[in-house]
C-alpha cells in the first residue's frame, strides 16, 4: 500500500507549499481538494468530481486515503465560517473511514451556520471556544501574554513555548504549541468537557487509529512543572491534543500563506505527529542530524562570565565529551566546521590551530585546548564528531567572499603549496578544445573543466615560488590552492581528511560556498557537498546557488542557524536572558520571545520567568531544526563556545533548573548543546515512524532520492 493523504483547503492563494513539500520528502502521495467556500453547504471539488460535503459519494471518495487533512485555520474566533463543511466528517467514524486531522481547527461558538451547529456531535468532548467568553472556554497559554503579532505566523523568531506531555508515550517534549488563538494574539489551549470525555473513554471503539480501543483519548496535555519555581500550571481539564474516535484534534501545524516551501514553519511537529497517529506510514523516514561551526575556539574573558580560557576549555571539553557520547548512543554524527587557515594566514589566538600551538597561549591553556581537540579527533575517526574545513581567513567571509585575498599566505608542499609555481587566476585566453586552432595556445596551456565546460587556458598568472601573494579568488586555480591548504592543515592537526571522513562534506565558513569554481575544486578533492547559503559569496555578492541546490552531482545544503545570540551585536550568548545583555545578546531577545515584556519585566523577581524563557527558547530552536529536517532537508547548526558560555563551569552538563543552578554571571545555568539534543531526541522517540537519528550522508542520500 502506498501512503496517501487528502489535503482539503478553501483557497490556493493562502496555501502554504510546505504541506506538500513535507509530504514529498516523506514519500507520501497526496491529493488536493478545494472547498468552494467555508460554509457547511460548500462543495468539495475532487479529481473525481464535485461532491456535497455530507454526501456518501464524498465519504466513499475519502475512503481511499489513509488520512484527510484540514489545512485552513484562522486567528479570529469570531469568524462565522472557515471549515464548516467538515462538520459532517466528525461523524464518519466507521472502520473503513480514514483518519481526519484537524490542526488548529476553527470550531468557535461564534459559528452561526445552522448546518454546522446542528450536525456538530453532541458528545464531542472539547469545549467550543467562545470569543465572548474566552476565559470560560479556553485556557490562555504560555503565560497568557499577547504577542505583538499573530502567533500563528511565527517563522524563525517569536515562537510560543510549551512543554507537552504525551500520555501514551509518557514522553515530555518542548514543541511550539498553539491550539487556537484570537485577534488578541494570545495563544490558547483547549478545555475538556470531562463528563463527555469520561463517557468516550469508557466506550469501546474499533478503528485502526484507536490504539486503546476507546472512542476518546487524551493524546497530550501541558506537562506539569518539574520545579516548584515554575508556577505556570494548567487545570486538569486542559488538553492540547485529543482523539475523538478517528478524528484528531491537534494544535496549529502550518500557517496559511501563499509562499514557497521553506523552513519557516516551526509548528510542523504537529503535522508529523498527526500523520503518525493516523497510521500513515511514510515511504521514507527523515534523518535528523546536527552540525556545529568552530567546535574549538575561545571567547572573551570579560563580562558577564569572566571565564578564563581554561574554564572555557573545560566547558567545551565536558560538552564535547557528552555530545560524542550522545552521537555514539544515537547512531548519529555531529559534523563540525573546524576553523582552518590559522596555521598560515591568521595569528588570532582564539582559533583552533593557534589555541593548540601559539606561544601566546599558556601551557595550561594549550593543554586544555588539546583535550578538546583530542575528543574531536577521536570522534572524527570513530564517526561521531567528524570535522571538515571551515576557513574564515580568506578575505573575510569564506569562499569567494571578496574579489581578491590580499597578502594570501599559502601552505608548503603538496601540489599547490610553495615553492611550486602554480596558476592563481584564469588564463587570459580560454578556448574550447574542439574549436581551438592548432598552434594558437601558448606554451603554458592547460585544460580546465568546471562543470560541463571544458576550456584550454593559456597566459595564466602564476604564483612563482613565493608563499605570500595577492590571490584573485574567482577561479578554480585559487579554489584549489585554498582548499588544499585547508586540508593540509587538517592533516597536520591529526585528522585523516578534511571532509568529515566518509561523509565528504563540510560546513562552509559564513555559509559561503563560493561558486562553480569552488564546487568543482571541492569535487576534485573528494567532497560530495557543502552547506551553503543561497547568496553563496557574501560580501562580494555576485553569486547564487541554483534553487534545487544541486550542481553537477554536488550538494549545496541549505543552512539553518540554531544560535542563541546576535553575532552582529554580541561576541557570544549571555544566556537565556540577561538584563544587561547587548541588543540581541541573549536568547530571548535574539529570538524575539519577550512577548509583552513578560520575561524581561519580572526577571529578577519572578523565578517562573526563567522557566518561561527556557520553554520558548527550546521550542523555537527545535522548531527551526525540525523545519530544516522536514522541509528543506538542510543543515542546522550552532556555534558551541558562543552558545555554551552561559553554562555553569562547575555543573556543565546539568540540565536547566531555573535559579537553582547559577552560571558565572549569577543567572540560570543553561547548556544549549545538551538541552537541544535531548529535546530533539524526545521528538525522535515520539515519531519513530517519521524521524531517525541519521547523518549528513543520510540527508544527501535522501535529497537525491526525493529531488527526482
Amino acid at each position: 500500500m502506498q501512503p496517501k493523504v487528502c489535503l482539503v483547503l478553501n483557497n490556493l492563494s493562502a496555501f502554504n507549499r510546505a504541506w506538500t513539500q513535507i509530504l514529498r520528502n516523506l514519500g507520501i502521495d497526496y491529493t488536493l481538494c478545494i472547498a468552494t467556500g467555508g460554509g457547511a453547504s460548500s462543495s468539495i471539488q475532487t479529481p473525481q468530481g464535485v461532491f456535497s460535503p455530507s454526501s456518501p459519494d464524498l465519504r466513499g471518495y475519502f475512503r481511499q486515503f489513509d488520512a484527510v487533512i484540514l489545512c485552513d485555520n484562522t486567528n479570529n474566533l469570531t469568524q462565522p465560517s472557515l471549515i464548516n463543511y467538515s462538520v459532517f466528517w466528525l461523524s464518519w467514524n466507521a472502520p473503513e473511514d480514514p483518519a481526519f486531522l484537524f490542526f488548529n481547527p476553527h470550531f468557535s461558538a461564534a459559528i452561526t451556520d445552522s448546518g454546522y451547529n446542528s450536525n456538530f456531535p453532541s458528545d464531542f468532548p472539547i469545549v467550543r471556544p467562545n470569543p465572548s467568553d474566552i476565559a470560560g472556554t479556553l485556557y490562555a497559554a504560555d503565560g497568557g501574554s499577547a504577542g505583538s503579532f499573530n502567533p500563528l505566523v511565527a517563522a524563525l523568531t517569536g515562537g510560543r513555548g510549551a512543554c507537552v506531555l504525551f500520555l501514551a508515550e509518557n514522553i515530555r517534549a518542548h514543541v511550539m504549541t498553539v491550539c487556537n488563538t484570537h485577534t488578541n494574539n494570545i495563544p490558547y489551549y483547549w478545555r475538556l468537557d470531562t463528563a463527555k470525555h469520561s463517557t468516550l473513554a469508557s466506550t469501546t471503539y474499533t478503528h485502526r487509529v484507536a490504539r486503546n480501543g476507546r472512542a476518546g483519548e487524551i493524546l497530550a496535555v501541558p506537562a506539569p512543572p518539574t520545579s516548584s519555581e515554575d508556577t505556570e500550571t494548567y487545570p486538569a481539564d486542559c488538553v492540547v491534543a485529543y482523539r475523538y474516535r478517528n478524528i484528531f484534534w491537534l494544535p496549529h501545524a502550518m500557517h496559511r500563506r501563499q509562499d514557497v516551501a521553506d523552513d519557516r514553519n516551526p509548528y510542523l511537529f504537529w503535522l508529523l505527529y498527526g500523520l503518525q497517529a493516523a497510521g500513515v506510514r511514510p515511504r521514507y523516514k527523515l534523518p535528523v542530524q546536527l552540525e556545529t561551526d568552530h567546535p574549538l575556539q575561545v571567547e572573551s574573558t570579560g563580562a558577564p562570565f569572566n571565564h578564563a580560557i581554561t574554564t572555557q576549555m573545560g566547558v567545551l571539553e565536558a560538552s564535547w565529551d557528552w555530545m560524542r557520547d550522545f552521537a555514539r548512543r544515537k547512531n548519529t554524527a555531529i559534523v563540525n566546521g573546524l576553523v582552518v587557515g590559522t596555521k598560515y594566514r591568521m595569528t588570532n589566538a582564539a582559533y583552533h590551530w593557534n589555541l593548540l600551538y601559539s606561544t601566546s597561549r599558556t601551557q595550561a591553556e594549550r593543554d586544555a585546548a588539546m583535550r578538546v581537540h583530542q575528543i574531536l579527533v577521536a570522534g572524527h575517526r570513530e564517526g561521531t564528531t567528524p570535522c571538515g574545513v571551515h576557513d574564515h581567513t580568506i578575505g573575510t567571509n569564506g569562499y569567494w567572499g571578496g574579489s581578491t585575498a590580499a597578502g594570501f599566505v599559502r601552505h608548503s608542499g603538496m601540489r599547490y603549496g610553495a615553492p611550486n609555481d602554480v596558476p592563481i587566476a584564469r588564463g587570459r585566453c580560454c578556448v574550447a578544445p574542439h574549436v581551438l586552432p592548432a598552434g594558437v595556445a601558448g606554451a603554458d596551456a592547460q585544460t580546465v573543466q568546471v562543470g560541463d565546460t571544458e576550456l584550454v587556458e593559456w597566459d595564466i598568472p602564476t604564483s612563482g615560488t613565493g608563499t605570500t601573494f595577492d590571490l584573485p579568488m574567482g577561479s578554480i586555480h585559487a579554489a584549489r590552492i585554498i582548499i588544499e591548504s585547508e586540508i593540509e592543515e587538517m592533516l597536520a592537526l591529526g585528522f585523516p581528511d578534511g571532509y568529515c571522513a566518509g561523509h565528504r562534506y563540510t560546513n562552509t565558513a559564513s555559509n559561503n560556498s563560493g561558486g562553480e569554481c569552488y564546487w568543482q575544486a571541492l569535487k576534485e578533492f573528494g567532497f560530495r557537498g557543502v552547506r551553503s547559503a543561497s547568496a553563496c559569496n557574501r560580501n562580494l555578492n555576485t553569486k547564487r546557488v541554483a534553487p534545487n541546490r544541486y550542481w553537477n552531482g554536488f550538494h549545496l545544503v541549505q543552512e539553518m542557524p540554531l544560535d542563541i545570540y546576535n553575532a552582529t551585536n554580541a561576541d557570544f550568548s549571555w544566556g537565556l536572558f540577561h538584563p544587561s545583555a547587548p541588543s540581541g545578546g541573549d536568547a530571548v531577545r535574539y529570538l524575539n520571545l519577550d512577548h509583552s515584556n513578560d520575561i524581561s519585566s519580572g526577571w529578577t523577581t519572578n523565578p517562573a520567568l526563567a522557566w518561561r524563557a527556557y520553554r520558548r527558547v527550546l521550542c523555537m530552536a527545535t522548531g527551526r531544526w525540525l523545519a530544516t529536517t522536514a522541509v528543506s532537508l538542510g543543515g542546522a547548526y550552532f556555534h558551541p563556545i558562543h552558545c555554551l558560555m552561559p553554562a555553569s563551569p562547575s555543573r556543565v552538563l546539568d540540565r536547566f533548573d531555573g535559579w537553582n543552578i547559577l552560571n558565572a554571571a549569577n543567572q540560570p545555568h543553561y547548556n544549549h548543546a545538551v538541552e537541544l539534543l535531548e529535546n530533539m531526541d524526545a521528538i525522535v522517540r515520539l515519531l519513530p515512524e517519521y524521524l531517525y537519528w541519521g547523518t549528513i550522508t543520510d540527508v544527501m542520500d535522501h535529497r537525491e532520492r526525493v529531488m527526482g
Binding site: 492563494s13 501563499q258 584564469r426 577561479s475 562553480e516 543561497s534 555578492n541 547564487r544 541554483a546 534553487p547
Partner: protein
C-alpha cells in the same frame, strides 16, 4: 549467446542486437522550473524577487543553457510597480565578466490586484545569459503586497 533481451508488447522475447536495440522513449525535457518565490513588493529600489537589494547579486545563476526565461506571476496588489530585468555573462569559473548588468527590459508591471502576468525574457531573440537579476519596486500606494513568481527556463 545473447545476454539481454526484452519482452515486446505482444509478449514475444526479443534479443537485443544492433538491428533490434532496446526500446527507448525519447522525451524532450526542454523546460526547467528555475524559481518559485513570493516577494513582498516594497518601495525599495533595486529589490529583487528574492528580496535582496544587493545590486550585484543575481536572482538566478547558471542559466547559460536557457534560450529564454518565462516569468509567470500573480500579483496580490494593484499599486503601480516597476520592474527591471538585468542580465550578464560569466566566465567558466562562474565569475561575471565585469561589474554591473545589461538592462534587458524595464517598465510597469502589468496587471491589477489578484491578476496574473507573463513576461518573456528576453522579449525577442535568445538569452543564454548566465545570470539574471529581476527587480520590482512599488511606486505608489501605502501598503506592500505579495508578488508570487514562477520562472521557467526554456532550452
Amino acid at each position: 549467446m545473447a545476454i539481454i533481451s526484452y519482452l515486446t508488447e505482444s509478449g514475444e522475447e526479443r534479443i537485443v542486437r544492433p538491428n533490434t536495440p532496446l526500446p527507448v522513449e525519447v522525451r524532450n525535457n526542454e523546460l526547467d522550473t528555475l524559481l518559485v518565490a513570493t516577494t513582498s513588493v516594497t518601495t525599495d529600489a533595486n529589490r529583487d524577487l528574492l528580496g535582496s537589494t544587493s545590486t550585484e547579486l543575481p536572482t538566478l545563476d547558471g542559466c547559460g543553457r536557457y534560450r529564454k526565461l518565462v516569468w509567470f506571476y500573480f500579483r496580490a496588489g494593484a499599486d503601480s510597480t516597476t520592474y527591471r530585468v538585468l542580465a550578464r555573462a560569466t566566465d567558466h569559473n562562474g565569475a561575471p565578466l565585469g561589474a554591473g548588468w545589461q538592462l534587458l527590459a524595464t517598465g510597469t508591471l502589468p496587471g491589477e490586484a489578484n491578476s496574473w502576468g507573463r513576461i518573456e525574457i528576453p522579449a525577442t531573440t535568445d538569452g543564454y545569459y548566465d545570470q539574471y537579476r529581476i527587480e520590482v519596486q512599488r511606486t505608489s500606494g501605502d501598503s506592500n503586497y505579495n508578488l508570487t513568481s514562477k520562472i521557467v527556463g526554456v532550452r
